[in-house]
Amino acid sequence: MTTEPVGGPSSVHRIAGHLVLGLLSLLCVFPIYWLYATSLRVPGDVSELSPLPWPLSTDNYADALEKNDVAAMLLNTGIVAVLSAFGQLLVGLLAAYAFAAWRFPLQRLIYLLFVGTWLVPFQATMLPNYVLLARLGLLETLAGVIVPNLCSALGVLLLREHLKSFPKELLDAARMDGRSSWTALWTVVVPALRPALAALGILLAITAWNEYFWPAMVLQRSNAVVQLGLRSFMGTEGNDWGPLMATAGLACLPVFALYLVLQRHIVNAFVRSGLK
């Protein structure tokens, strides 16, 4: 007697599948292992190629903390990531709600304009954005990093797609209950969209956390965010790999923690989107 489903893969195929997946996982994990391995080597051994770092040393972490204010960098990067993601979610939610729940003139054109902004490469809008920030006096500030990124076309697109399959009857019922469209948004739509909002939120927060190009333009006088701090260990006179890897290792931890906390929602959201 067997417990395998009829027509399921044979055990040979299953083992082969697991082997391939295991190898792929190793390939994905290896750079992260190497990052932490290098960061834990004795400073004189950072160029060594031995797979196991020995003896272990935290000198590179001490060096990184001495040369840069890593705690402040992580805090600033966290502020930028959270505010950018929050702003993009809010704008995305309101825009998607409008597109999905109402019919209004030029709706398609306006939606296409939103989509269109996704097609314009950042490099094309970079200079006008920079000039605008200079005029607003927002250069060298965290606000300068956040404000031009408060709207994400991706957020609008994704949430609109989710809202399109949201049953209109629920909105009608809420209206018959006497709820305003604003109340209906927060009491009916948002609770139903929670997995999608969590998945999108983490995606946007990680993108903002890893953003390097725009902060490098705006924050010229400091290394206020961690991605700029990483670059400060590279230069004309060679790269300082030890503290660079130590800072990169520290920069990965908050993102990893965020993923662990929100993992269930993310898997949920992707499974649901895939089933549609």
Binding site: G44, L127, Y130, V131, N223, S232, G235, E237, G238, N239
Partner: protein, 458 residues
């Protein structure tokens, strides 16, 4: 209706784009000073911005420069300096200097004093509008600064920031190409660890010995790729009597026989197993790790090698190798300080900062804390200056010795100077590391790149 909406949208976009592109372009290149800018009054407060790639690197670089800026502000209480690194996303902030300056000029707020590389000199003066220091403060003041209080600039370094007979930039930081080698690997290969190879033929033979007897790689010449730029390629070419561009800078000449010989010699080293096919970064890391016998590299990287060597192997250094019967011609990499401010008070304050940063005192601090070559070379004899530092630094001597034979790194002309430089180095890289035919490849590339010269190279 739909069409008119699109037309209105397109017009609005066009207006936005043109407005954005037009901003700030009026200032670049403006001259108009009729005499030296006035000295600052004792109670005249001025704020200036100083942009240097040294602020992009944490540790000794940023710390030393912050220390110098603080000392300057203490000495000049009426001038406050805001330091910044170039904008941009390159791993090496020194490669972002020009694009950073361009975008700030576009935004209408260029920094007042900027540290820029010598290979950008033509573009810096003729396109970006650096101010001629001779016009701002007078030729005598500029020359008096070179003469210094006690120790003058090395003769070869004085004119590196000059254009058409005027000084635009004061040379500031500086390095020459050196041959570094691993004494342990030399001993293991049966070579004299106290004797650096002086000729390219000796470099090739030593590299083959290291590769054959130790199993490590022989030599890497970090002058032959696009990533290396062309500063030390020019040095090797000049050492063989050639030039990559004619002396009047009107014609590219990197397909001529002396250059073809140089590139073929390097290709032979790769084909013969003396030189590994590595990227610049791989080679620097391999040498620091002790896996490479020799490397021709900028003296600026020496700190990385000393750190990598630690207690495990000993670093040796020699001057740039020469070809048979000729003397090597070293070129320099490095940067000078330029003034971009349009405001007279800021121009004067900028000049005060330049004088301070190139003073005996500043060079003593910079050389001892960062390791840069002091351009006031007499300081290495001064017991109160850098004498003890020089005695502890046995690699300094070949570097100083090369200064006497130095030729400037020639910048390519016109607005497409970077494409010309990069295109030439890509062709060299193709020949040396990919095995392309030297003469045909260089000739074809020279023909193409000549079209980018001002006037199409005619």
């Amino acid at each position: 209706m739909r069409r008119s909406l699109f037309a209105a949208g397109a017009a609005a976009m066009l207006a936005l784009v043109t407005a954005a592109c037009g901003l700030g372009s009026s200032d670049a290149g403006s001259e108009g000073n009729t005499g030296p800018v006035p000295e600052l009054g004792a109670d005249q407060r001025v704020s200036i911005v100083f942009e240097s790639y040294n602020f992009g690197q944490a540790g000794a670089w940023t710390d030393t420069f912050n220390e110098l800026i603080a000392a300057f502000e203490k000495e000049h209480p009426n001038i406050s300096v805001t330091a910044q690194k170039p904008q941009g996303n390159s791993a090496n902030p020194a490669t972002d200097t020009i694009s950073s300056l361009q975008s700030q000029l576009t935004a209408g707020s260029p920094p007042d004093v900027v540290q820029l590389g010598f290979s950008d000199l033509d573009f810096t003066v003729n396109q970006l509008g650096a101010k001629a220091l001779d016009d701002l403060v007078g030729e005598n003041a500029v020359q008096a600064n070179f003469d210094g209080e006690e120790y003058p600039y090395a003769e070869a370094a004085r004119k590196l920031g000059d254009w058409d007979g005027k000084t635009y930039g004061v040379p500031f930081v500086f390095s020459t190409p050196m041959l570094y080698y691993n004494k342990q690997l030399f001993s293991q290969a049966g070579l004299d660890p106290e004797q650096a190879p002086a000729k390219w033929s000796e470099v090739r033979d030593s590299a083959k010995a290291v590769a054959g007897r130790t199993g490590k790689d022989g030599v890497y010449v970090d002058c032959l790729t696009k990533a290396a730029k062309d500063w030390c390629f020019q040095s090797i070419v000049r050492s063989n009597g050639g030039r990559v561009i004619s002396q009047d800078r009107s014609k590219l000449t990197f397909a001529e026989q002396p250059v073809v010989e140089v590139v073929s010699t390097m290709q032979d080293m790769v084909k013969g197993g003396a030189m590994p096919n590595l990227t610049q970064m791989q080679a620097v890391e391999a040498f620091a790790r002790g896996d490479l016998g020799m490397i021709v590299e900028s003296s600026a990287i020496q700190g990385t090698f000393l750190k990598g060597a630690g207690d495990e192997w000993e670093l040796g250094a020699g001057a740039m190798p020469s070809f048979e019967g000729t003397q090597a011609v070293p070129t320099n990499s490095g940067a000078a300080l330029f003034v971009f401010s349009a405001d007279q008070a800021k121009q004067r304050a900028g000049w005060e900062l330049i004088k301070f940063l190139t003073s005996e005192r500043a060079y003593t601090t910079i050389a001892s804390k960062i390791g840069y070559l002091p351009l006031r070379t007499g300081l290495v004899e001064d017991p109160d200056g850098l004498k003890s530092w020089a005695e502890q630094n046995p690699y300094l001597e070949p570097n100083l010795e090369q200064l006497g034979r130095l030729e400037p790194w020639v910048s390519m002309p016109g607005t497409s100077y970077l494409q010309i430089r990069d295109g030439m180095m890509e062709a060299v890289e193709n020949v040396v590391f990919q095995g392309a035919d030297a003469e045909a490849t260089l000739r074809a590339e020279q023909g193409e790149l000549s079209k980018l010269l001002p006037g199409g190279g005619r």
